[in-house]
Subunit: 243 residues, 2 copies
DNA sequence: CTTGGTTATGCTGCATGCAATGGTGGGTCC
DNA sequence: GGACCCACCATTGCATGCAGCATAACCAAG
């Protein structure tokens, strides 16, 4: 990314349309309609499409041009497992390097916010947003504190994939009580992870981070198996993959 | 990548010029000179530059355009550590899933080729090429056999970075005997890794893959400290990083 | 001699024109 | 009636023109 001007607008808009399902998996990304729809020329569209391919959201179509990539359930699952391995490395590095004073404050603020969001027993829209923001902040803090820039980039890349993000599965679970249970468990893992980080237990921190991601994988399977696929249908190829 | 026609040529040519040092770290990637040099218009150049940025070889320059990215020693070291973590995951998955008959043959072929290349005691140009090819094949076989496509992509991405590739450090060490020693040790690690894979020892395989990458990191430090930086000077910012 | 303003120049980023290629629909032949 | 072939059309990919802008050089004033 990091494009400027019109091309950046195009990229953001295209991402949004793919994530919201307005552009569905397999849809051809024709330049002229997109250019008209976004009120710009074909040139920035082409740049945005190329960037979209680099992000993995588009694939080259036969005969030129691009199409919205279809993700298989398997690929999403694999991407989350990969995220676990990457975040595990980040956690290990943080534990090995030691938790700075500033980082400790960020981590505990996040934990407190999570506790507060979950304290009421049910998650209204507001509490859910709070938890989601806390979750993003916590994971980002660890990824940054690892002090490994290629690692940070790799985590960002996998986070850009649909449903592979750390907070992607938050809003989905079917019933409010179940959702509360799942998030409560996940947040207990957050507590343990921070504990391991501060104790300098690198191996344990890495294992916990992986387990945390595996937990997300289980939740993903739960959602898919329960047929609650709403927005996912736009992106996931349940039959045969395009890419 | 995966661009077609002129843009693909441009991308390949630009990568080559960066890796060979013809384009040095920090050099501005001006469109017009590049278009003239490559005998094409500015349009495919721009696409190639954008792709180059996605690969991490170029960074946006202040005031528009791009420049060749300057890597710090730290970043290269971090990238190799990241590769170790990723290849560790791949090795663990292969061990957990079991080694197929075809994979076992590929692995042992590679091991035999490596043994043969190292058998003569000194590495002439030919033996070095043979070892390098074997090394690439072995690592690629494991990455593919892991059966995790996002992981494979992540490994490919880090391999695209200069000096982070598994076989990047092969040709560099100063003296032929030392080079032979380093490669012999690395290849012993290959043997142990394959042994762990076939025994289904996932944890051991992962640890060995990481150690193998850490070995590459030590070799890298060795080369840098011994001042034998030839081609590296073009890419590594020894003073202050641009990116 | 230094410093501030101004101008000129090169570059980027976007729009549009044009050729080539692939796909589609219709027409014709078997 | 079906299948094959041809022509037309849409779309991509590349080239080029143009405006905006940042940088840099130059001149003038203090």
């Amino acid at each position: 990314m990091s494009l400027t001007g019109q091309a950046a607008r195009a990229l953001i808009e295209l991402r949004a349309r793919i994530f919201t399902g307005r552009l569905r998996a397999g849809d051809r990304l024709a330049e002229i309609p997109l250019a008209e729809a976004l009120g710009m020329s074909r040139t920035p569209i082409r740049l945005a499409l190329s960037a979209l391919q680099a992000e993995g959201l588009a694939v080259p179509a036969p005969g030129g041009g691009f199409a919205v990539r279809a993700f298989t359930v398997r690929e999403v699952d694999d991407a989350v497992a990969l995220r676990g391995q990457l975040e595990g490395m980040a956690a290990r590095l943080v534990a090995e390097h030691g938790v700075s004073r500033g980082l400790a404050r960020r981590l505990h603020e996040a934990l407190d916010q999570g506790d507060a969001a979950l304290a009421r027993g049910v998650l209204d829209e507001e509490a859910l947003d709070a938890y989601s923001g806390m979750n993003t902040a916590l994971h980002a803090a660890i990824a940054e504190a690892a002090g490994n820039e290629p690692l940070r980039r790799a985590i960002a890349a996998v986070e850009a994939l649909p449903f592979a993000s750390a907070s992607a599965l938050v809003p989905s679970p079917r019933s409010a009580p179940q959702r509360h249970r799942l998030l409560t468990f996940a947040h207990q893992q957050h507590h343990l992870l921070v504990e391991a980080l501060e104790a300098g237990q690198g191996m344990r921190a890495e294992a916990l981070a992986r387990e945390h991601a595996d937990n997300a994988r289980r939740n993903l399977r739960l959602i898919l198996d329960s047929g609650e696929a709403e927005g996912l249908a736009a992106l996931i190829a349940f039959k045969d993959p395009v890419a």
